[in-house]
Amino acid sequence: MFSQPFLFVKTSNALRHPLCAALALAAALPPAQAQTGAAPQKPSYQVEEIPVPKGVAPEIGGLGFTPSGKLVVLTRRSGILTALPTPDATHMQWTRFSDQSLHNANGLFVISDREMLVSQMPELTRVLDNDGDGIADEYRTEASFNLSGAYHEVTAGPVPDGKDGFFIALNTASHSGFTFEHTRGLFSEVSRRGRNFASVQHRGWVMHWDPKTGLTPWAKGFRSPNGIQTGPDGSVWVTDNQGDFRTTNPLYHVEQGLFYGHPSSLVWDPAYVKADPKRDPLKQPMAELDAMRAPAAVLFPYGFSRSPAEPLFDTTNGKFGPFKGQMLVADAAAPRIIRVMLEKVDGVMQGACVDFYSHNGLRNGSNRMVFSPEGTELYVGQTMREWAGAMEGLQRIKFNGGSIFEILSMHLTRDGFELEFTQPVDAGVGEKPEAFATESYWYEYSSNYGGPESQSEKVRVSSVQWSADRRKVRLVYPKLQAQKVIRLNLTGFTSGAQPLGHAMVAYTINRLAN
């Protein structure tokens, strides 16, 4: 179980050193480090604060880079800013690319120094600087989004589909707010009901837009999909938020036409309505909805991921550390970025998640992320305006190199898992099955607003087999089942006395490996 004394680090003289003190604040610092008092190395990842000009609300709805290397910062109510990144983050020369006309802008795709696609509450907008003076002079509407008038109807994306098109995710409305007497788009009384609801068309959908076909509905069943990304292979990924019909925070591998479990959007599916015009998704039995829905690729343990936002694939090819090709997920309600290790098993995407970076200067509220063109820095933009506390701003995480000891991958085998580490694990560590504390649990599909882990049980590892180089270990379990999350806690694992950076990893099994 997770009874590490996360916060109770013995204070020594070494901890008075600023760097070491920063390490002492680490959320998941294993006790070994404090006890050994090992000399601190320069942290591999370091957070820097990036101030924006006075008068700009630093609520970041989108980040990008122009082909010429300018950082583009989309804010939710202060327009678009650009700056050439400087080594000293406090001295960037900012330019306002747009005026402050964008309404709660929450998605950005940069085409050039003079052209950007932005999603804002009512529409997808192409922002253009036609005369080349560095300031946008045209806001061209590319697609219109319906709005009931609820504050919660925000967007995520556009993200490119690899051809000429883009994907955009449309949030539902929340019952914490009202709708307007006159709605933008047709109003449905049936789908006005609900905790989170879709009273106007295509709320709770992932949409596809391209210049030829316009805006078309693509996949449904989303609640608060505040993160969308396409992978290098063109795959579409969406994070959603715990809430009604969401027992925990999921990451979805989204495929065209499928339903992802939040029912309100179904009234805007012609096929669903045609099958039974009187059908009300909110009244449909849970078992029927359950049978219709596609699974999440990864179910994030709640408390670990609080409010997942933008996913981003590490395309830096090693410039940002050893996690090439893996996914990072920002969290808008915790000072944390999560790392996701995905694999396809029996034709279905699934995988594991582990803490990548938390606390240590990282602000709460991370919403959007982008890698610098060099790949050595991750820019992170925060905003969580509707909630309590300070969760807005712009930061970057620099990769300093150095020794990183983490779980590199977790791969499901026919009879267990193969774990790979970034460094050889010390001899004498993890020799016995008991060293791999494992529990399994599941999240029941429920209409409730969030819910606990259920069917929890401790799982025994029956055998442990290390590779000769001590980088890989094969774990055999007497029985693994599908529809389970397997959570391992590798307390006390070391590599040359360096403790494992993040010891907890959780793997979502949708399908067993054959």
């Binding site: 009874s3 916060l7 109770f8 204070t11 901890l15 600023p18 920063a22 604060e49 924006v52 006075k54 008068g55 630093p58 202060s78 005026d99 006309s101 509450m121 009512p122 529409e123 192409r126 946008a136 002079d137 045209e138 806001y139 061209r140 509407t141 219109s144 709005l147 008038g149 504050y151 019952h175 009202f178 709708t179 307007f180 006159h182 709605t183 933008r184 009901r193 609900g194 905790r195 009273s199 909110l282 408390g303 000072p335 200067g361 990282l362 709460n364 305006r385 509707e386 309590a388 300070a390 701003g393 649990y441 209409s447 409730n448 607003y449 606990p452 882990e453 259920s454 929890s456 401790k458």
Partner: protein, 426 residues
């Protein structure tokens, strides 16, 4: 911003555990219970107090304040009780909520209820006689990873250390929004108008103006757990009788696709990207965004999210779209270009495309300059019978210009204190 300073501050906070001053020894005294106050750090899944000392056998009154948006509890445990507790919570399933996530297991010294956001609870208990470290955690699933602390039970006569407060990993990060200087009462100038897409107020316009909108209805509060509407005490507006019924969420007057433009204190208007027409014009101020953005940064989302008009209306649209007599079909908004700081809106009705500018014309009137992009000119600007404000329609180059005379209305009401109070908590 001085980064080296902030990292030094970080260092100091982390060293706090070593610097706490021992307090005077406290004797167990039944008449004077030891008071401990523990706050939840909002949004951080942490207790602010991560360690406190008590004397063995003392009466303790513990206050848990939950100013976070999530529910939390505090369960104080005997030194070795945590693994069994966590295992038991994990098997509670959906019933956990009802039991405040406090399972029937041995080893619980004291526990609060599951506190809803923005509530607090006092609990009293007798400190154990055995010295040692007694952990406390929030047992809401997942929270115990980070939401934990320890109560040290000290022998009678031993000095008690002051409580240790966690930095929480949150406070060290600068509050960039509070320091931003972002104004909630933006203003443009005649030379450089301020353009803002926003939810805008609907000052009670003729419903015919919203011909291409959906008809929004009141909603009801819904409980996802029961999948039923929330039933509460509801006052019948006609009779004043209070009875049980579904809790209604009224539809409000707002414009979802508005573009609000301000030329300084003397001229503002809302042009709607859904109807593709000018909705209203006002003078004497622009928009107070407090009722949309919250009173101050980080103060939480207000209950209302329609900004407030400041000043007085001088024009409101009525009747169907003036161009509709010419062309059928819903208007399609195509965007706008900034021309010398002024937006020129572009839209399509049927197969015809228009550009439109709204410009002040002196202190008592304004103009719409509409430029068709096709050779055919509309036959007429269709003015509804009640729209006596239009004084002339004339051709000017490619454009036709509609002149409108102000019809001043009384000033918009000032904010009610009640509305302001609403904006304090989300």
């Amino acid at each position: 911003m001085n980064l080296s300073l902030s990292s030094r501050r970080l260092a100091l906070l982390a060293c706090l555990p070593a610097l706490v001053q021992p307090a005077l020894a406290q004797k167990p005294d039944k008449a004077e219970p030891l008071k401990v106050s523990i706050k939840v750090i909002p949004g951080a899944i942490r207790f602010e107090t991560t360690r406190f000392d008590v004397t063995a056998g003392a009466r303790v009154t513990l206050t848990l304040s939950n100013d976070c948006v999530m529910p939390h509890n505090l369960v104080l445990l005997k030194p070795d009780a945590e693994p069994a507790l966590v295992a038991a919570v994990n098997t509670m399933g959906l019933e956990g909520m009802d039991k405040h996530f406090v399972p029937d297991v041995p080893g619980i010294v004291a526990a609060t209820k599951l506190l809803q956001p923005f509530s607090k609870e006092n609990i009293s208990f007798t400190a154990p006689e055995a010295e040692g470290d007694y952990p406390y955690v929030c047992t809401f699933p997942g929270h115990w990873f980070t939401m934990r602390g320890v109560m040290r039970v000290r022998a009678a006569g031993v000095a008690l250390a002051a409580p240790v407060k966690s930095g929480g990993g949150v406070e060290q990060v600068p509050d960039a929004l509070k320091n931003s200087g972002m104004t909630h009462k933006p203003l443009g100038t005649p030379e450089k108008p301020f353009v803002m897409r926003t939810f805008a107020p609907d000052p009670g316009l003729d419903p015919a103006v919203f011909a291409h909108h959906g008809v929004g209805k009141d909603g009801v509060k819904y409980d996802p757990a029961t999948r039923l509407d929330v039933i509460g005490k509801v006052t019948d507006p006609a009779t004043g009788v209070v009875k049980e019924g579904p809790v209604v969420v009224k539809a409000e007057k707002g414009v979802a696709g508005a573009i609000a433009v301000n030329h300084g204190l003397e001229f503002s208007y809302v042009w709607d990207s859904t109807e593709c027409r000018l909705l209203y014009v006002w003078r004497g101020g622009f928009l107070d965004m407090d009722t949309y953005w919250g009173k101050e940064p980080g103060s939480g989302r207000p209950k209302m999210y329609i900004p407030r008009l400041m000043g007085h209306l001088v024009y409101r649209a009525s009747g169907p779209m003036p161009l509709e007599g010419e062309f059928k079909g819903a208007p399609v908004f195509l965007g706008y270009k900034m021309e010398k700081g002024v937006p020129e809106f572009r839209y399509r009705v049927g197969t015809k495309t228009y550009r439109e500018k709204v410009l002040p014309a002196g202190a008592e009137g304004f103009e719409l300059r509409i430029t068709p992009e096709q050779p055919e000119r509309p036959k007429a600007w269709v003015v509804s019978p009640e729209d006596t404000a239009v004084t002339s329609v004339r051709g000017e180059g490619d454009a036709f210009v509609v002149s409108v005379k102000d019809r001043p209305e009384p000033p918009q009401p000032a904010p009610k204190p009640a509305d302001e109070a609403k904006t304090k908590k989300p």
